[in-house]
Symmetry: C2
Subunit: 224 residues, 2 copies
DNA sequence: GTTGAAATTAGTACGAA
DNA sequence: TTCGTACTAATTTCAAC
Protein backbone atom coordinates (compact mmCIF):
# COMPACT_ATOMS: atom_id res chain seq x y z
CA UNK A 1 0.00 0.00 0.00
CA UNK A 2 0.88 3.63 -0.33
CA UNK A 3 3.00 3.34 -3.40
CA UNK A 4 3.71 6.65 -5.02
CA UNK A 5 3.98 6.70 -8.74
CA UNK A 6 4.71 10.37 -9.03
CA UNK A 7 7.67 11.65 -10.97
CA UNK A 8 7.52 8.49 -12.97
CA UNK A 9 8.23 8.93 -16.68
CA UNK A 10 11.25 11.14 -17.17
CA UNK A 11 14.03 10.80 -14.69
CA UNK A 12 13.80 13.87 -12.60
CA UNK A 13 10.45 15.24 -11.67
CA UNK A 14 11.80 18.48 -13.01
CA UNK A 15 8.54 19.84 -14.29
CA UNK A 16 7.14 21.41 -11.20
CA UNK A 17 4.14 22.71 -13.02
CA UNK A 18 1.03 23.49 -11.13
CA UNK A 19 -2.57 22.71 -11.81
CA UNK A 20 -2.74 19.54 -13.82
CA UNK A 21 -6.49 19.50 -13.96
CA UNK A 22 -7.09 21.98 -11.18
CA UNK A 23 -5.85 25.50 -10.98
CA UNK A 24 -4.92 26.26 -7.42
CA UNK A 25 -5.62 29.78 -6.29
CA UNK A 26 -4.92 31.54 -3.04
CA UNK A 27 -8.06 30.16 -1.46
CA UNK A 28 -7.09 26.62 -2.27
CA UNK A 29 -3.73 27.09 -0.66
CA UNK A 30 -5.36 28.59 2.38
CA UNK A 31 -7.59 25.57 2.65
CA UNK A 32 -4.59 23.28 2.43
CA UNK A 33 -2.86 25.31 5.08
CA UNK A 34 -5.72 24.89 7.52
CA UNK A 35 -6.07 21.22 6.69
CA UNK A 36 -2.42 20.65 7.29
CA UNK A 37 -2.62 21.88 10.84
CA UNK A 38 -5.91 20.25 11.62
CA UNK A 39 -7.01 17.50 9.31
CA UNK A 40 -10.18 16.92 11.28
CA UNK A 41 -11.78 20.33 11.10
CA UNK A 42 -15.32 20.33 9.88
CA UNK A 43 -15.87 21.92 6.54
CA UNK A 44 -17.94 24.56 8.28
CA UNK A 45 -15.08 25.57 10.53
CA UNK A 46 -12.76 25.41 7.55
CA UNK A 47 -14.96 27.81 5.64
CA UNK A 48 -14.96 30.21 8.53
CA UNK A 49 -11.21 30.16 8.93
CA UNK A 50 -10.54 30.61 5.25
CA UNK A 51 -13.16 33.28 4.90
CA UNK A 52 -15.51 31.71 2.39
CA UNK A 53 -19.00 30.33 2.51
CA UNK A 54 -19.69 26.76 3.52
CA UNK A 55 -20.98 25.72 0.12
CA UNK A 56 -17.85 27.08 -1.48
CA UNK A 57 -15.72 25.29 1.05
CA UNK A 58 -17.50 22.03 0.32
CA UNK A 59 -17.03 22.46 -3.39
CA UNK A 60 -13.34 23.26 -3.13
CA UNK A 61 -12.73 20.61 -0.54
CA UNK A 62 -14.25 17.96 -2.77
CA UNK A 63 -12.38 19.25 -5.79
CA UNK A 64 -9.05 19.09 -4.00
CA UNK A 65 -9.80 15.58 -2.87
CA UNK A 66 -11.08 14.38 -6.23
CA UNK A 67 -8.23 15.94 -8.13
CA UNK A 68 -5.70 14.24 -5.94
CA UNK A 69 -4.13 17.35 -4.49
CA UNK A 70 -5.17 15.99 -1.14
CA UNK A 71 -4.11 12.39 -1.13
CA UNK A 72 -5.55 11.38 2.18
CA UNK A 73 -6.01 12.40 5.75
CA UNK A 74 -3.93 10.86 8.42
CA UNK A 75 -2.95 11.03 12.07
CA UNK A 76 0.55 11.97 13.06
CA UNK A 77 1.61 9.80 15.94
CA UNK A 78 4.44 9.76 18.43
CA UNK A 79 6.43 6.77 17.28
CA UNK A 80 8.30 6.56 20.53
CA UNK A 81 5.10 6.06 22.42
CA UNK A 82 3.78 3.63 19.88
CA UNK A 83 6.78 1.42 20.49
CA UNK A 84 8.93 2.22 17.49
CA UNK A 85 11.52 4.57 18.89
CA UNK A 86 14.43 3.71 16.63
CA UNK A 87 14.74 5.41 13.26
CA UNK A 88 17.36 4.56 10.71
CA UNK A 89 18.26 5.60 7.21
CA UNK A 90 19.49 2.91 4.88
CA UNK A 91 21.20 4.08 1.75
CA UNK A 92 20.94 1.45 -0.91
CA UNK A 93 22.90 0.82 -4.06
CA UNK A 94 20.66 -0.93 -6.54
CA UNK A 95 21.83 -3.24 -9.27
CA UNK A 96 21.06 -1.70 -12.60
CA UNK A 97 17.96 -2.91 -14.39
CA UNK A 98 16.58 -4.44 -11.28
CA UNK A 99 14.62 -1.42 -10.21
CA UNK A 100 11.27 -2.95 -10.75
CA UNK A 101 12.09 -5.83 -8.49
CA UNK A 102 13.51 -3.48 -5.91
CA UNK A 103 10.34 -1.46 -5.81
CA UNK A 104 8.16 -4.51 -5.65
CA UNK A 105 10.09 -5.92 -2.72
CA UNK A 106 9.96 -2.64 -0.92
CA UNK A 107 6.23 -2.42 -1.17
CA UNK A 108 6.13 -5.67 0.80
CA UNK A 109 7.94 -4.19 3.76
CA UNK A 110 5.54 -2.49 6.15
CA UNK A 111 8.31 -1.24 8.40
CA UNK A 112 9.60 1.03 5.66
CA UNK A 113 8.23 4.48 6.23
CA UNK A 114 9.81 6.28 3.33
CA UNK A 115 11.79 5.39 0.25
CA UNK A 116 13.15 7.76 -2.34
CA UNK A 117 15.37 7.40 -5.37
CA UNK A 118 18.24 9.84 -5.09
CA UNK A 119 21.15 11.21 -6.97
CA UNK A 120 24.53 10.96 -5.33
CA UNK A 121 26.67 8.10 -4.20
CA UNK A 122 23.75 5.82 -3.50
CA UNK A 123 20.67 5.08 -5.49
CA UNK A 124 17.95 5.08 -2.90
CA UNK A 125 17.30 6.07 0.66
CA UNK A 126 15.04 4.05 2.92
CA UNK A 127 13.76 5.20 6.26
CA UNK A 128 12.71 2.53 8.70
CA UNK A 129 11.21 2.65 12.15
CA UNK A 130 11.87 -0.16 14.57
CA UNK A 131 11.49 -1.09 18.19
CA UNK A 132 15.19 -1.50 18.81
CA UNK A 133 18.57 -1.37 17.14
CA UNK A 134 18.72 -5.12 16.76
CA UNK A 135 15.72 -5.05 14.50
CA UNK A 136 17.40 -2.58 12.22
CA UNK A 137 20.30 -4.94 12.04
CA UNK A 138 18.00 -7.82 11.18
CA UNK A 139 16.23 -5.72 8.61
CA UNK A 140 19.41 -4.79 6.81
CA UNK A 141 21.28 -8.06 6.97
CA UNK A 142 18.42 -10.51 6.61
CA UNK A 143 15.75 -8.78 4.64
CA UNK A 144 17.43 -6.22 2.44
CA UNK A 145 20.45 -8.37 1.80
CA UNK A 146 18.13 -11.07 0.49
CA UNK A 147 16.88 -8.86 -2.29
CA UNK A 148 18.98 -9.55 -5.39
CA UNK A 149 18.44 -6.01 -6.57
CA UNK A 150 20.26 -4.67 -3.55
CA UNK A 151 23.95 -4.45 -4.24
CA UNK A 152 25.09 -2.64 -1.13
CA UNK A 153 23.69 -0.77 1.83
CA UNK A 154 24.89 1.80 4.28
CA UNK A 155 23.05 2.36 7.52
CA UNK A 156 22.87 5.55 9.51
CA UNK A 157 20.90 6.06 12.68
CA UNK A 158 18.78 9.03 13.49
CA UNK A 159 19.62 10.36 16.90
CA UNK A 160 16.96 13.00 17.03
CA UNK A 161 14.21 14.26 14.82
CA UNK A 162 14.47 17.99 15.08
CA UNK A 163 11.63 18.99 12.85
CA UNK A 164 8.90 17.36 10.86
CA UNK A 165 6.21 19.12 8.95
CA UNK A 166 3.31 17.27 7.39
CA UNK A 167 4.04 19.00 4.14
CA UNK A 168 5.32 22.27 2.87
CA UNK A 169 3.19 24.66 0.91
CA UNK A 170 4.27 27.28 -1.58
CA UNK A 171 2.70 29.89 0.65
CA UNK A 172 5.06 29.00 3.46
CA UNK A 173 7.84 30.73 1.68
CA UNK A 174 6.20 34.11 1.78
CA UNK A 175 6.88 34.24 5.49
CA UNK A 176 10.63 34.47 5.18
CA UNK A 177 11.05 36.83 2.32
CA UNK A 178 14.00 39.13 2.73
CA UNK A 179 15.86 37.07 5.24
CA UNK A 180 18.96 35.77 3.58
CA UNK A 181 17.34 34.53 0.41
CA UNK A 182 16.83 37.45 -1.92
CA UNK A 183 14.63 36.35 -4.80
CA UNK A 184 16.77 37.09 -7.75
CA UNK A 185 14.59 37.69 -10.78
CA UNK A 186 16.24 35.07 -12.90
CA UNK A 187 14.97 31.61 -13.67
CA UNK A 188 12.52 31.45 -10.77
CA UNK A 189 9.39 33.31 -11.74
CA UNK A 190 7.75 32.58 -8.42
CA UNK A 191 7.44 36.15 -7.36
CA UNK A 192 3.67 36.26 -7.37
CA UNK A 193 2.64 36.15 -3.74
CA UNK A 194 -0.43 34.07 -4.31
CA UNK A 195 -0.10 31.37 -6.88
CA UNK A 196 2.97 31.82 -9.00
CA UNK A 197 4.83 28.54 -9.12
CA UNK A 198 6.56 28.35 -12.42
CA UNK A 199 9.13 25.93 -13.59
CA UNK A 200 12.30 27.63 -14.78
CA UNK A 201 14.79 25.04 -13.67
CA UNK A 202 18.04 23.51 -14.61
CA UNK A 203 20.08 26.66 -15.07
CA UNK A 204 22.18 27.78 -12.15
CA UNK A 205 23.65 24.53 -10.99
CA UNK A 206 27.18 25.70 -11.44
CA UNK A 207 27.78 26.77 -7.90
CA UNK A 208 26.25 23.75 -6.24
CA UNK A 209 28.29 21.02 -4.74
CA UNK A 210 26.50 18.49 -6.81
CA UNK A 211 27.09 14.83 -6.49
CA UNK A 212 26.65 12.88 -9.65
CA UNK A 213 24.92 9.55 -9.59
CA UNK A 214 27.02 6.88 -7.94
CA UNK A 215 30.38 8.37 -8.70
CA UNK A 216 31.66 8.65 -5.18
CA UNK A 217 32.19 11.64 -3.00
CA UNK A 218 35.37 13.55 -3.32
CA UNK A 219 36.65 15.92 -0.70
CA UNK A 220 33.89 18.44 -1.20
CA UNK A 221 33.53 20.54 1.82
CA UNK A 222 31.96 23.94 1.28
CA UNK A 223 29.06 25.34 -0.60
CA UNK A 224 30.68 28.46 -1.95
CA UNK B 1 6.27 25.55 14.46
CA UNK B 2 6.31 21.81 14.57
CA UNK B 3 9.49 21.43 16.51
CA UNK B 4 10.01 17.97 17.87
CA UNK B 5 11.72 17.72 21.18
CA UNK B 6 11.67 13.97 21.35
CA UNK B 7 14.79 11.98 22.01
CA UNK B 8 16.18 15.04 23.67
CA UNK B 9 18.24 14.38 26.76
CA UNK B 10 20.64 11.54 26.11
CA UNK B 11 22.07 11.29 22.68
CA UNK B 12 20.34 8.36 21.16
CA UNK B 13 16.69 7.75 21.74
CA UNK B 14 17.65 4.25 22.63
CA UNK B 15 14.92 3.59 25.13
CA UNK B 16 12.11 2.43 22.96
CA UNK B 17 9.89 1.74 25.89
CA UNK B 18 6.20 1.85 25.43
CA UNK B 19 3.47 3.44 27.42
CA UNK B 20 4.87 6.41 29.22
CA UNK B 21 1.61 7.28 30.84
CA UNK B 22 -0.63 5.18 28.67
CA UNK B 23 -0.46 1.48 28.11
CA UNK B 24 -1.27 0.73 24.52
CA UNK B 25 -3.21 -2.44 23.97
CA UNK B 26 -4.36 -4.11 20.78
CA UNK B 27 -7.43 -1.93 20.57
CA UNK B 28 -5.37 1.23 20.75
CA UNK B 29 -3.20 0.04 17.91
CA UNK B 30 -6.25 -0.83 15.89
CA UNK B 31 -7.58 2.65 16.41
CA UNK B 32 -4.28 4.13 15.28
CA UNK B 33 -4.33 1.90 12.25
CA UNK B 34 -7.74 3.14 11.19
CA UNK B 35 -6.82 6.74 11.91
CA UNK B 36 -3.70 6.44 9.83
CA UNK B 37 -5.61 5.49 6.74
CA UNK B 38 -8.45 7.89 7.30
CA UNK B 39 -7.80 10.67 9.72
CA UNK B 40 -11.23 12.14 9.18
CA UNK B 41 -13.41 9.23 10.18
CA UNK B 42 -16.04 10.05 12.71
CA UNK B 43 -15.55 8.43 16.06
CA UNK B 44 -18.74 6.51 15.43
CA UNK B 45 -17.37 4.95 12.28
CA UNK B 46 -14.09 4.38 14.05
CA UNK B 47 -15.85 2.47 16.82
CA UNK B 48 -17.62 0.33 14.28
CA UNK B 49 -14.44 -0.52 12.40
CA UNK B 50 -12.50 -1.33 15.52
CA UNK B 51 -15.33 -3.27 17.06
CA UNK B 52 -15.97 -1.31 20.22
CA UNK B 53 -18.76 0.87 21.47
CA UNK B 54 -18.98 4.52 20.63
CA UNK B 55 -18.46 5.60 24.21
CA UNK B 56 -15.35 3.48 24.46
CA UNK B 57 -14.07 4.82 21.19
CA UNK B 58 -14.50 8.37 22.43
CA UNK B 59 -12.68 7.60 25.65
CA UNK B 60 -9.75 5.94 23.94
CA UNK B 61 -9.60 8.51 21.19
CA UNK B 62 -9.38 11.29 23.71
CA UNK B 63 -6.82 9.40 25.76
CA UNK B 64 -4.58 8.87 22.76
CA UNK B 65 -4.84 12.51 21.88
CA UNK B 66 -4.33 13.80 25.42
CA UNK B 67 -1.41 11.48 26.05
CA UNK B 68 0.35 12.66 22.93
CA UNK B 69 0.38 9.36 21.13
CA UNK B 70 -1.57 11.11 18.42
CA UNK B 71 0.23 14.35 17.81
CA UNK B 72 -2.15 15.86 15.32
CA UNK B 73 -4.23 15.18 12.29
CA UNK B 74 -3.13 16.32 8.92
CA UNK B 75 -3.78 16.11 5.22
CA UNK B 76 -1.33 14.40 2.93
CA UNK B 77 -1.05 16.39 -0.22
CA UNK B 78 0.45 15.90 -3.65
CA UNK B 79 3.38 18.28 -3.58
CA UNK B 80 3.76 18.19 -7.30
CA UNK B 81 0.27 19.52 -7.76
CA UNK B 82 0.72 22.07 -5.04
CA UNK B 83 3.64 23.55 -6.91
CA UNK B 84 6.58 22.12 -4.99
CA UNK B 85 7.72 19.31 -7.19
CA UNK B 86 11.41 19.36 -6.37
CA UNK B 87 12.65 17.48 -3.34
CA UNK B 88 16.20 17.55 -2.11
CA UNK B 89 18.18 16.15 0.76
CA UNK B 90 20.84 18.35 2.25
CA UNK B 91 23.35 16.65 4.47
CA UNK B 92 24.82 19.12 6.88
CA UNK B 93 27.99 19.11 8.91
CA UNK B 94 27.43 21.20 12.00
CA UNK B 95 30.11 23.04 13.89
CA UNK B 96 30.42 21.56 17.32
CA UNK B 97 28.70 23.37 20.15
CA UNK B 98 26.57 25.33 17.77
CA UNK B 99 23.72 22.90 17.75
CA UNK B 100 21.34 25.15 19.55
CA UNK B 101 21.82 27.88 17.00
CA UNK B 102 21.48 25.40 14.20
CA UNK B 103 18.16 24.20 15.50
CA UNK B 104 16.88 27.68 16.09
CA UNK B 105 17.73 28.74 12.55
CA UNK B 106 16.10 25.68 11.12
CA UNK B 107 12.86 26.34 12.89
CA UNK B 108 12.73 29.59 10.97
CA UNK B 109 12.78 27.90 7.60
CA UNK B 110 9.31 26.95 6.49
CA UNK B 111 10.53 25.20 3.38
CA UNK B 112 12.24 22.55 5.46
CA UNK B 113 10.01 19.54 5.67
CA UNK B 114 12.16 17.28 7.78
CA UNK B 115 15.37 17.52 9.74
CA UNK B 116 17.05 14.77 11.66
CA UNK B 117 20.33 14.44 13.52
CA UNK B 118 22.17 11.41 12.21
CA UNK B 119 25.21 9.30 12.80
CA UNK B 120 27.56 8.85 9.91
CA UNK B 121 29.66 11.17 7.86
CA UNK B 122 27.34 14.10 8.29
CA UNK B 123 25.60 15.41 11.35
CA UNK B 124 22.13 16.22 10.09
CA UNK B 125 19.89 15.58 7.15
CA UNK B 126 17.46 18.19 5.91
CA UNK B 127 14.69 17.55 3.44
CA UNK B 128 13.40 20.51 1.51
CA UNK B 129 10.63 20.92 -1.01
CA UNK B 130 10.88 23.61 -3.65
CA UNK B 131 9.30 24.77 -6.84
CA UNK B 132 12.42 24.34 -8.92
CA UNK B 133 16.04 23.36 -8.78
CA UNK B 134 17.19 26.94 -8.67
CA UNK B 135 15.45 27.45 -5.38
CA UNK B 136 17.29 24.53 -3.86
CA UNK B 137 20.47 26.15 -4.99
CA UNK B 138 19.46 29.44 -3.41
CA UNK B 139 18.45 27.68 -0.25
CA UNK B 140 21.79 25.94 0.14
CA UNK B 141 24.12 28.68 -0.92
CA UNK B 142 22.33 31.71 0.43
CA UNK B 143 20.37 30.57 3.41
CA UNK B 144 22.14 27.57 4.85
CA UNK B 145 25.57 28.94 4.10
CA UNK B 146 24.71 32.02 6.10
CA UNK B 147 24.23 30.02 9.26
CA UNK B 148 27.50 30.03 11.19
CA UNK B 149 26.66 26.67 12.68
CA UNK B 150 26.72 25.08 9.25
CA UNK B 151 30.23 23.96 8.39
CA UNK B 152 29.53 22.11 5.17
CA UNK B 153 26.66 20.77 3.14
CA UNK B 154 26.11 18.13 0.55
CA UNK B 155 23.04 18.17 -1.63
CA UNK B 156 21.32 15.22 -3.21
CA UNK B 157 18.18 15.35 -5.27
CA UNK B 158 15.27 13.02 -4.99
CA UNK B 159 14.32 11.69 -8.38
CA UNK B 160 11.28 9.76 -7.28
CA UNK B 161 9.47 9.08 -4.09
CA UNK B 162 8.72 5.41 -4.23
CA UNK B 163 6.89 5.03 -0.98
CA UNK B 164 5.67 7.14 1.86
CA UNK B 165 3.65 5.96 4.78
CA UNK B 166 2.16 8.35 7.28
CA UNK B 167 3.72 6.34 10.05
CA UNK B 168 4.57 2.79 10.84
CA UNK B 169 2.91 0.87 13.59
CA UNK B 170 4.25 -2.05 15.55
CA UNK B 171 1.34 -4.10 14.30
CA UNK B 172 2.49 -3.64 10.74
CA UNK B 173 5.28 -6.07 11.31
CA UNK B 174 2.99 -8.97 12.02
CA UNK B 175 2.08 -9.05 8.37
CA UNK B 176 5.46 -10.17 7.16
CA UNK B 177 6.44 -12.70 9.72
CA UNK B 178 8.38 -15.57 8.29
CA UNK B 179 9.45 -13.89 5.11
CA UNK B 180 13.18 -13.48 5.30
CA UNK B 181 13.38 -12.11 8.82
CA UNK B 182 13.21 -14.94 11.30
CA UNK B 183 12.68 -13.52 14.77
CA UNK B 184 15.63 -14.83 16.63
CA UNK B 185 14.84 -15.00 20.34
CA UNK B 186 17.78 -12.92 21.37
CA UNK B 187 17.79 -9.32 22.44
CA UNK B 188 14.50 -8.48 20.80
CA UNK B 189 11.67 -9.58 23.08
CA UNK B 190 9.05 -8.31 20.71
CA UNK B 191 7.47 -11.64 20.03
CA UNK B 192 4.09 -10.81 21.52
CA UNK B 193 1.78 -10.24 18.59
CA UNK B 194 -0.20 -7.55 20.28
CA UNK B 195 1.78 -5.15 22.34
CA UNK B 196 5.22 -6.44 23.11
CA UNK B 197 7.74 -3.72 22.38
CA UNK B 198 10.74 -4.20 24.56
CA UNK B 199 14.01 -2.41 24.44
CA UNK B 200 16.93 -4.82 24.35
CA UNK B 201 19.26 -2.74 22.27
CA UNK B 202 22.89 -2.06 21.80
CA UNK B 203 24.08 -5.64 21.59
CA UNK B 204 24.43 -7.11 18.14
CA UNK B 205 25.99 -4.26 16.27
CA UNK B 206 29.02 -6.27 15.33
CA UNK B 207 27.87 -7.30 11.90
CA UNK B 208 26.51 -3.96 10.85
CA UNK B 209 28.32 -1.72 8.49
CA UNK B 210 28.19 1.06 10.97
CA UNK B 211 29.41 4.50 10.22
CA UNK B 212 30.74 6.39 13.18
CA UNK B 213 29.93 10.04 13.60
CA UNK B 214 31.76 12.23 11.12
CA UNK B 215 34.72 9.99 10.60
CA UNK B 216 34.41 9.53 6.89
CA UNK B 217 33.34 6.57 4.90
CA UNK B 218 35.85 3.94 4.03
CA UNK B 219 35.37 1.46 1.24
CA UNK B 220 32.48 -0.30 2.90
CA UNK B 221 30.41 -2.11 0.41
CA UNK B 222 28.38 -5.02 1.72
CA UNK B 223 26.21 -5.78 4.65
CA UNK B 224 27.47 -9.22 5.45
C1' DG C 1 -20.72 32.32 -4.90
C1' DT C 2 -23.74 33.19 -0.83
C1' DT C 3 -27.23 32.62 2.72
C1' DG C 4 -30.82 30.10 5.41
C1' DA C 5 -33.60 26.06 6.95
C1' DA C 6 -34.36 20.92 7.25
C1' DA C 7 -32.41 16.41 7.91
C1' DT C 8 -28.91 13.81 9.41
C1' DT C 9 -25.12 12.83 12.11
C1' DA C 10 -21.83 13.66 15.70
C1' DG C 11 -20.70 14.46 20.54
C1' DT C 12 -22.02 14.16 25.60
C1' DA C 13 -23.87 12.35 29.81
C1' DC C 14 -25.79 9.16 32.21
C1' DG C 15 -27.02 4.46 34.33
C1' DA C 16 -26.41 -0.63 33.90
C1' DA C 17 -23.75 -4.72 33.15
C1' DT D 1 -13.75 -0.68 32.06
C1' DT D 2 -17.09 -1.19 28.75
C1' DC D 3 -21.64 -0.91 26.75
C1' DG D 4 -26.23 1.04 25.55
C1' DT D 5 -29.39 4.69 25.37
C1' DA D 6 -31.25 9.27 25.55
C1' DC D 7 -30.22 14.11 25.09
C1' DT D 8 -27.94 18.12 23.12
C1' DA D 9 -25.22 20.39 19.78
C1' DA D 10 -23.16 20.50 15.58
C1' DT D 11 -22.52 19.47 10.77
C1' DT D 12 -23.98 18.44 6.09
C1' DT D 13 -27.26 18.78 2.49
C1' DC D 14 -30.37 21.15 -0.31
C1' DA D 15 -32.97 24.78 -1.47
C1' DA D 16 -33.65 29.66 -3.03
C1' DC D 17 -31.36 34.11 -3.61
Amino acid sequence: MTEMSSNSGSGGGATGRIGIGLELDATHLKILEVLRDNGRVSVSALAERVGISRANAYTRFEALRADGVIRRFTAEIDHQRAGLGIVALIFVTVRQQMWRQFRAQLAQMPEVEYCAITTGQHDAMIQVRMADVAEVHAMVTERLANIPAVKATETVFILDEVLRRPYVLPSDRERDRGRGAPRRPGPSPSSDPEQGQGQGQGLPLGKMRFVGAAEGRAALRDAT
